[in-house]
């Protein structure tokens, strides 16, 4: 054993390696404490519910991104998929199609986008960064072209949409329940099943995983599909909050989701990370957004602040990782 740390040091190091979410949790606690003092109405049920409502929609997208990033791939097209699925649900609703069928149509479209992303990345062996950047532009362009740039509003009322994202207590919405169910069950799959093991192995070392019998291409394509379907679902859930969707819905969401995942300690190069970190990451971002506004800062500060948090988180996570492996 070339490990020359004291046994206490090595135990701490092991815990850091096992818990990539540690940095995000620490950040979350700090931000929470700071805003509790600076923002007067931060610690109210309404405020926390509002934070969770925004974090849930972003979080469902980020959950898919996490899976894919651990596989060693990217999906930049989630924002477009988000908007496209929401639009499909809106158009279906206005056409009198039952909303449940509309949701299935929207998710199927997302499934198709993910499948195409995966096949193009794997079969033509191009970076997923490029493949999904192309998909981002293509699907957004299609969405704008088909709708003519106009927003669509649904005037009906529906218990189905209420179930998707209705307000049930203070500022709390059902989207939070869906988000928690999704992120915890997918985390279970990631940590506790052979498929999760294959996902980590594929992202950690694709060729080694292949020679050990992991079907790396199938794992990748599946995770592209998971990422796209969750983005589509998140789009539908957001539609259920606003009852309207415009063709630019979800623009920039991919970057926000990636930022949340990276803050949560998942490695961009793949093979390391988990969804608990992503949970803390999206909560952190939601808190910063609300907290800044409630502290009286102009909304523009949000982006600048997130930029700083993202870079600091990446530096801290890298340092922690390097230290804990030594």
């Amino acid at each position: 054993m070339k490990n020359n740390k004291s046994s206490f040091g090595s135990v701490v190091a092991l815990q850091f390696r096992r818990h990539p979410e540690f940095g995000a949790l620490a950040g979350l606690i700090i931000v929470f404490i700071v805003f509790s003092f600076t923002a007067t109405r931060f610690l109210t049920i309404e405020s926390l519910g509002g934070i969770l409502a925004v974090a849930s929609e972003l979080g469902i997208v980020a959950t898919g991104i996490t899976f894919l990033m651990i596989t060693g791939e990217f999906d930049l097209s989630v924002g477009s998929t988000f908007g496209l699925s929401a639009m499909i649900l809106a158009l279906a609703a206005n056409a009198g199609i039952p909303l449940f069928i509309g949701l299935l149509l929207a998710i199927s479209a997302a499934f198709f986008i993910g499948l195409v992303n995966g096949i193009i990345t794997v079969k033509f062996n191009i970076p997923s960064f490029i493949a999904t950047l192309g998909a981002l532009m293509f699907w957004r362009g299609m969405l704008l072209a088909v709708t003519g740039g106009f927003a669509v509003r649904y005037w009906g009322s529906s218990s189905f949409l209420y179930a998707l994202n209705g307000q049930f207590y203070g500022g709390f919405r059902t989207s939070a329940l869906w988000f928690f169910i999704i992120i915890f069950s997918l985390n279970l799959i990631l940590i506790k099943t052979p498929y999760g093991n294959a996902t980590y192995a594929t992202g950690g070392n694709k060729e080694a995983a292949r020679v050990l019998g992991v079907l790396v291409n199938r794992v990748k394509i599946t995770n592209f599909i998971i990422s796209a379907m969750l983005a589509g679902l998140a789009g539908c859930i957001q539609f259920a909050r606003f009852y309207s969707v415009d063709p630019l819905r979800g623009t920039g969401m991919e970057l926000e989701a990636i930022a949340a995942v990276v803050v949560g300690g998942t490695l961009m190069s793949g093979g390391y990370g988990n969804l608990i970190g992503t949970l803390f990451g999206v909560l952190l971002m939601g808190m910063v957004r609300s907290g800044l506004i409630m502290s009286g800062a102009p909304a523009y500060w949000y982006q600048a602040f997130i930029g700083i948090i993202l870079i600091s988180a990446a530096i801290i996570n890298t340092k922690l990782k390097r230290w804990s492996i030594k």
């Binding site: 093991n197 192995a201 070392n205 080694a208 020679v211 050990l212 093979g271 492996i325």
Partner: protein, 254 residues
Amino acid sequence: MIENNFLVKMVGINKRYGIVEALKDVDFNVKRQEVVGLVGDNGAGKSTLIKILTGVCPPDSGEIYFEGKKETIDSPKKARDMGIETVYQNLALIDLLSISRNFFLGREPTKKFAGFCNFLDKKKIDEISERALKDVGVKVRDVDEEVSILSGGERQAVSIGRAIYFGAKLLVLDEPTAALSIKESHKVLDYVADARERGLSVIFITHNIYHVYSVADRFAILEHGEKLGDFNKDEVSAEDIIEIVRTGKMPPRS
């Protein structure tokens, strides 16, 4: 008729990459409980031959017999299922994964939870991998730690221990002592001898003739995609083999 004491018999293997003839009509055999040193200079075709045997790429022509039966090995998984375990130089283990998860990667034991979904049987995974590693003489602090903290020799040991545990009949080692310290190299050589004691056959690919010479029973020498010949250990010295690899010619009979 294939004699029964051959574990592997590769006959008339050809492989071409574009205009490069990587393998020209190569025959290659491994007997049961035999350690074969597969040697040759860079580009001699050692890796290609092994890739064909382990299902990584298909031959253009030629036949492979395993335990006397003709087989088409079309995937690494098939090779593994047949009992051929490969320890690649840099591809043996996944650094960011724990030792025990690496140990069982691709064939994890599972248990059902509430009647649905197969969950990893973590307890079994940890216990078995720890016991199996101890069995080949490797002690690790905690099988739940990542492979990245292991030294090169320990990694080879984990790979070899894994192969033995899963009942491999043939162990293929690709440059197992490259980049290892002298002490660790000798440990790996001990593992190889141990694997033979347990009834496995071993193909040992290397540049380091001295390493392979100490454990091999026989040497197959490749040169520019052709086999120069097979030599039993009692027919040649390590220096003879180096000379053959260096000049690409058979040594003058002394």
